[in-house]
Structure formats: structure tokens, C-alpha cells
């Protein structure tokens, strides 16, 4: 038995190979760049403005958060069609908790920050329980996930309707609204500080993984390549912060804010929105989900079960319980997305999250999650969500009417999967 295709450490490798960059990731970033440049030309330079990029990021957050959970669901060979409706139920629970239930029950004054936190807790719990229940139907009662969540799509949308009696609930608590995007941002200074901390963390993580490899005498990248990757990370992070900080609060909004405190805007004063708290939330979700996927037993079992359910079971993995956990985790993420979505609107409405299941599944799939199971990445799903949102926003800006927008998005989804299939065939993975 001899290996003829193993790596040959002695031979010179291509620049790409030395950098060990992920081709799929590069492809997606490339696609995103093409979309941005194209729309920038079509809109006469209005697409690549700090303001539009700021809006693009906050519009992406809710779907991106759910897409990270959908990766696990699809990797384990399931699907969740109920996320959009479950989002409505979670949002309804959070809205009712902060405007009525907790107010009556605990006697807290409306607008008290504690209400926001209680509401958020209730929303996440709702997501976890309903998600877990759907997972139990799938895992223990062996009802296909497609059917369970197709039912859920109808059920939870209308449970939400009953919870609010079909009413729009708002305005939501001010503390709650901090998670919506423009109503809660870090400002320039804290955004820079966050950028620096994130850069340091990224570089430390890179070198920690290098040290771990060296400790076991595994091959590592040459030092220059490691440095280049670190530099790319730092530039990307700081560039992102710089763009967000470049979006300054319009003069009239500033005037209103100062007026509220009985002050006048000083001459020449400007302020930046900076990093939205909702984006911070997405980054936290992305980091936690990536760690879960790559570094925990649970994550390992999710991928093993997707790759070969029988092998997973014979290795002593409780795949039924795993299914419950995966759907419960999906539910929690739907709860977080509901928080972001409703607070961005500043109210809960009956149709919140409508069609989100399709956006979320599309984001995961465009991001390289294989419907056959076993393959998918968290960063891919987030990039997928960003690509979808930039397409949609760009077309809206150009003035493409809604029906055509949907036709384009639908076609892009199918084309993306086709490209993915061809790519996998080529690299044999």
C-alpha cells in the first residue's frame, strides 16, 4: 500500500498553497466584490458609500444569525422551513412581555431597562423550547424535518397572531431597541477600540494554532505566509471599522439629539455611528458558532452525523438527542434574530420574518452548505447572507421592481448551487 497523492513537503508549492487560503472563500468574496462594483457603477457611485454599506450590514444581521444555525440543520441532513414564522412568535413573545405581560406581572414601569432583558430572555427561551420540540418530533418520532417545519411554518406564524391579537405592538422598549442597528451603535472611539481588540485576537488565534502545530512537529506555513494572512485579517477588520466610522450622523439628527438635552450643536461638530450593536451581536454569534462547529464535541458530532449517520450512531453518538439540540440551537438563534429584526423596526408586526426561511436557507446554501449533509461553514453562511442582501439592496437602489428582484435572487440561488456542484466535482471534495 503506497500513497501516491499525499503532500510532498520537499517540493515547492504554489503561492496559494503556501498561504493555505480557502478557494471557496475567495470565490465568495470575489462574487461579493463583483456585485458591489457592478451596483456602484449602476447607481452612479451610491452603492459603495459608508451610509449604504452601514445599512447593508444592519439589514444582513437577522438573516445571517439564523443562517449560522441553518448550517448545522442542513449539515445533519435536515431542513428548517419554520424559522421565519418562529421568528414572528419569538418577536411577539418579546413584544408582549415588555409591553404587557411582565409589566402586569412584575409591576415594572414601562420603559424600564429590566423589561428589555426579561423580554429577550423570554424570546430566546421560546425559540429554544419550540425549536427543541420540533427537533424532538424529527429525532425521536422520526417525522421528516421537511414536514415538521412545513407544519411549523403555518403554526408559529399564527400562534404569533394570537399572542398579539393580530395587532402591531410598539414602540418597543428603548433598551430593547439598542439591538436594532442604527438606534444602538458604539460611536467612533469604541468602534476603533473594538477593531484593535478584534485584530489582536485574530492574530493571537493564528499564532496559537501555529504553536500547537509546531508542538507536535506538524508542517506549518512559512513565517512570511503566516504574516501575510495576519495582515489580511487586520486590514479587513480595521477597514470595516473605518467604513462604518466614516458614516457620520446627519446634522438634523444631531441637532435633535442635542435639543433633547437642551443643548445646541457646537460649530463644526460631527459624530459617527460606528459599529452597530446588532453587528457586534452577529460577530459574537459567528465566533461562538465557529468554535462550536470546530472545537466542541457537539460540533464534531453534528458533522459526523451529517457525513455518515450510521457511523456516528455506531460510534456511540446519540443522534436523536443531537437532532433535538441542533433544532433547539436553531431556535435560540431565531430568537436572537427576532430581537434584531423587531428592534430594527422598533415594533412587532404580524408579517415580521415572512419569507425569511427562504433567505436563510439560500444564504446557507450559497455559502457552500451541502444539502446532502456533512459540509458547511459558518463564515460561508454569513457571506451568503451578505451576498443575498447586497443583491436585493442593489437592485432596489437601481429601481428594479420587486417581481424582477425575486426572479433574479431565485436564479442566483440555483446558479450558485450549480457552481458549487461543479467546483466540488473538480476538487473532488
Amino acid at each position: 500500500m503506497t500513497d501516491t497523492t499525499g503532500p510532498h513537503p520537499g517540493r515547492s508549492r504554489s503561492l496559494f498553497a503556501q498561504l493555505e487560503l480557502d478557494l471557496r472563500l475567495l470565490g465568495m468574496i470575489g462574487a461579493f466584490a463583483v456585485i458591489c462594483v457592478l451596483f456602484n457603477i449602476l447607481t452612479g457611485g451610491n452603492f459603495l458609500t459608508p451610509r449604504n454599506l452601514f445599512n447593508l450590514t444592519i439589514q444582513t444581521v437577522s438573516v445571517a444569525i439564523m443562517a449560522t444555525g441553518m448550517v448545522f440543520v442542513i449539515v445533519t441532513r435536515h431542513i428548517d422551513l419554520a424559522v421565519g414564522s418562529l421568528l414572528a412568535t419569538c418577536s411577539a413573545v418579546m413584544a408582549m412581555t415588555q409591553t404587557a405581560w411582565a409589566v402586569d406581572l412584575l409591576g415594572l414601569p414601562l420603559g424600564s431597562p429590566a423589561l428589555a432583558w426579561i423580554a429577550i430572555l423570554a424570546g430566546l427561551l421560546t425559540g429554544a423550547v419550540i425549536g427543541g420540540f420540533q427537533g424532538w418530533l424529527v429525532g425521536y418520532l422520526s417525522i421528516p424535518a421537511f414536514i415538521v417545519t412545513l407544519g411549523g411554518l403555518l403554526v408559529w406564524r399564527n400562534v404569533a397572531w394570537y399572542l398579539t391579537n393580530g395587532q402591531t405592538i410598539g414602540p418597543l422598549n428603548e433598551t430593547f431597541q439598542l439591538f436594532g442597528g442604527i438606534n444602538g451603535t458604539l460611536g467612533a472611539t469604541w468602534s476603533w477600540i473594538f477593531g484593535i481588540l478584534a485584530s489582536v485576537a485574530a492574530v493571537l488565534a493564528l499564532f496559537a494554532s501555529r504553536r500547537a502545530k509546531l508542538r507536535h512537529d506538524f508542517p506549518v506555513k512559512p513565517m512570511w505566509a503566516e504574516g501575510a494572512v495576519a495582515a489580511i485579517f487586520v486590514i479587513a477588520i480595521m477597514g470595516f471599522i473605518a467604513i462604518l466610522n466614516a458614516y457620520t450622523i446627519p446634522a438634523r439628527v444631531l441637532a435633535r439629539q442635542f435639543e433633547a438635552r437642551g443643548l445646541a450643536v457646537p460649530e463644526g461638530f460631527t459624530a459617527s455611528y460606528g459599529l452597530p450593536i446588532s453587528v457586534l451581536l452577529l460577530i459574537a454569534v459567528a465566533v461562538v458558532m465557529t468554535v462550536i462547529a470546530r472545537k466542541t464535541r457537539f460540533g464534531r458530532y453534528v458533522f459526523a452525523t451529517g457525513g455518515n449517520p450510521d457511523a456516528a450512531e455506531l460510534s456511540g453518538i446519540n443522534t436523536r438527542l443531537l437532532t433535538v439540540k441542533v433544532f433547539a440551537l436553531m431556535g435560540v438563534l431565531v430568537g436572537i434574530a427576532g430581537l434584531v429584526a423587531s428592534s430594527r423596526l422598533t415594533f412587532h408586526s404580524n408579517d415580521i420574518g415572512t419569507l425569511d426561511e427562504l433567505r436563510v436557507i439560500a444564504a446557507a446554501v450559497i455559502g457552500g452548505t451541502a444539502l446532502a449533509g456533512g459540509i458547511g461553514t459558518i463564515y460561508g453562511a454569513i457571506l451568503g447572507a451578505l451576498i443575498m442582501q447586497s443583491l436585493q439592496s442593489g437592485m432596489a437602489m437601481v429601481g428594479v421592481d420587486a417581481p424582477l428582484q425575486n426572479i433574479v435572487v431565485g436564479s442566483v440561488l440555483v446558479a450558485a448551487v450549480l457552481i458549487d456542484i461543479i467546483y466540488r466535482r473538480r476538487v473532488g471534495g
Partner: protein, 257 residues
């Protein structure tokens, strides 16, 4: 092959009067088999004879309707693959039970990952251990950081066998371990079986290749339609005797005697 196996003591594993039915099919019908330390016991029989089902009961994948399992003379209750593992029973399946999308070390440690600080899996440590054991079992193995789907059948089987060896198996079950392999790779697996045997493990081996079984096994148990036809020491029988046990369901020599 059948040198001096000491069968005077208690067997390493004894399966007694095992039965299991699926719906109306009596897949295994009051079968008893045993294996001693350092012994290879072959299971032979046509497709559907019940061989895989019988050993899956020992591996914890199925629960017998009746019968009992003894390990070193002690009655044990095996309800899950995890239970089997705690009794140091490792199984190498016909279908190469590996997760194709994971690499060799993730598969080797599947369900028993090495965890470091905060309970996070320590991939480097697992890969280092995998490299060590593969250096012993299959020195040519190089593909440590690719999914096992990129491996040949033999390489995959060596990962499965490494799993058994690494976790100090006392009892190894191999269900047609060479069915998917070429000649060269089959030889490698045969060598590995001899290696495990010399270390004092007890092995249940299922194969359709009667010649291979005569070569590797100390005893063979033949099954037909879920029932045990008989168990013979290989030095007492010819290949033809075994074939007639498989086909006719009886041993001509014993019939004659």
C-alpha cells in the same frame, strides 16, 4: 494457524442461546458462539444467514430478544455501542463505518475525542496520536489532513483498525473487513489480524472467502437461516467440509461418524 490456543479456561466472550427476530424473520435462532484470548473465530454462511445480526448484538447495535452474553465469565448487559466500548469491544464494519467528510484522526477518535482546556477538542493532540499509531500499523499512510473520502479502501480500513488498536480493544469484531479491498490491501488487513491475535485479543471474523478463513481462523462457526450449523477447529475440517456445512447445513464427517 491453529497452534496452541488454550481453551481450558473461561472464554473471553461467550454468546449463549442468542435469538432475535425482525418482524416475522427469525434472523438469529438460539445461536451460541465463543472466543478465547488470542483466538480468531470465523463466522461463515450465506448472505442473510444472520452473521451480521449476531455480531451486531455483541457490538450493541441490536438488543437480543433472548440469550446472554458473558465476558470473562461475567454476565454483561450491552445496550448500546457505547456499552460495548466500555467492555473493550471494538467493531470494524463491512460498510466501513467512517464519516467520509472528516479526516482520519477525527474518525479514529469519534465519540472519544481528546479534549483540552474548556472541554474543547484538541485536534493537534489527536492528530499526533493518529500519526503514532498509523506509523505502527500502516507506515505509508500520509493523508492525515484530508477527509477520509479521499482515501483508498485499504487506507480507510486501516483507520478503522487503528481505532480498535488505539483504544485497547480486548475483543475485535470484523464484519467482512476485506470485502471492499484489493488483493494487496486484503493482505495488509490479514497481517493486521495476525498482529492483533498475537497480542492476545479475541477476534470474531466474518468473511465469504473460505480459503482466507481457513488461513486466518482457529475455529469456524457456520450459520444457516439464523441457526448455528456447527463450530469446528480448522485443523479438523477441510474446505469442502465447510462448504457443505454452509450449503447443506450439515457436516458430512459428523453425519458419517
Amino acid at each position: 494457524m491453529a497452534e496452541d490456543i488454550d481453551r481450558s479456561g473461561t472464554p473471553l466472550v461467550e454468546m449463549r442461546d442468542i435469538s432475535i427476530a425482525f418482524g416475522g424473520v427469525q434472523a438469529v435462532d438460539r445461536v451460541s458462539i465463543d472466543v478465547f484470548p488470542g483466538e480468531v473465530v470465523g463466522l461463515l454462511g450465506h448472505n442473510g444467514a444472520g452473521k451480521s445480526t449476531l455480531i451486531k448484538i455483541l457490538a450493541g447495535a441490536y438488543k437480543a430478544d433472548s440469550g446472554e452474553i458473558l465476558i470473562n465469565g461475567q454476565k454483561v448487559d450491552i445496550r448500546s455501542p457505547a456499552d460495548a466500548r466500555t467492555h473493550h469491544i471494538e467493531t470494524i464494519y463491512q460498510t466501513l463505518a467512517l464519516a467520509d467528510n472528516l479526516d482520519a484522526s477525527a474518525n479514529l477518535f469519534l465519540g472519544r475525542e481528546i479534549v483540552g482546556a474548556f472541554g474543547l477538542v484538541d485536534d493537534s493532540a489527536m492528530e499526533a496520536e493518529t500519526r503514532k499509531i498509523m506509523a505502527r500499523l500502516n507506515p505509508n499512510f500520509r493523508k492525515f489532513s484530508v477527509p477520509v473520502s479521499a482515501l483508498s479502501g485499504g487506507q480507510r480500513q486501516s483507520v478503522a483498525i487503528a481505532r480498535a488498536v488505539y483504544f485497547n480493544a480486548k475483543i475485535v469484531i470484523m464484519d467482512e473487513p476485506t470485502a471492499a479491498l484489493g488483493v494487496h490491501e486484503t493482505e495488509m488487513v490479514a497481517d493486521l489480524i495476525k498482529e492483533l491475535k498475537s497480542q492476545g485479543l479475541g477476534i470474531f471474523l466474518i468473511s465469504h472467502d473460505t480459503r482466507e478463513m481457513m488461513d486466518l481462523c482457529d475455529r469456524v462457526s457456520v450459520m444457516k437461516n439464523g441457526a448455528l450449523v456447527g463450530t469446528e477447529r480448522v485443523e479438523d475440517v477441510t474446505e469442502d467440509d465447510i462448504l457443505s456445512m454452509i450449503i447443506l447445513g450439515k457436516n458430512p464427517k459428523r453425519e458419517a461418524a
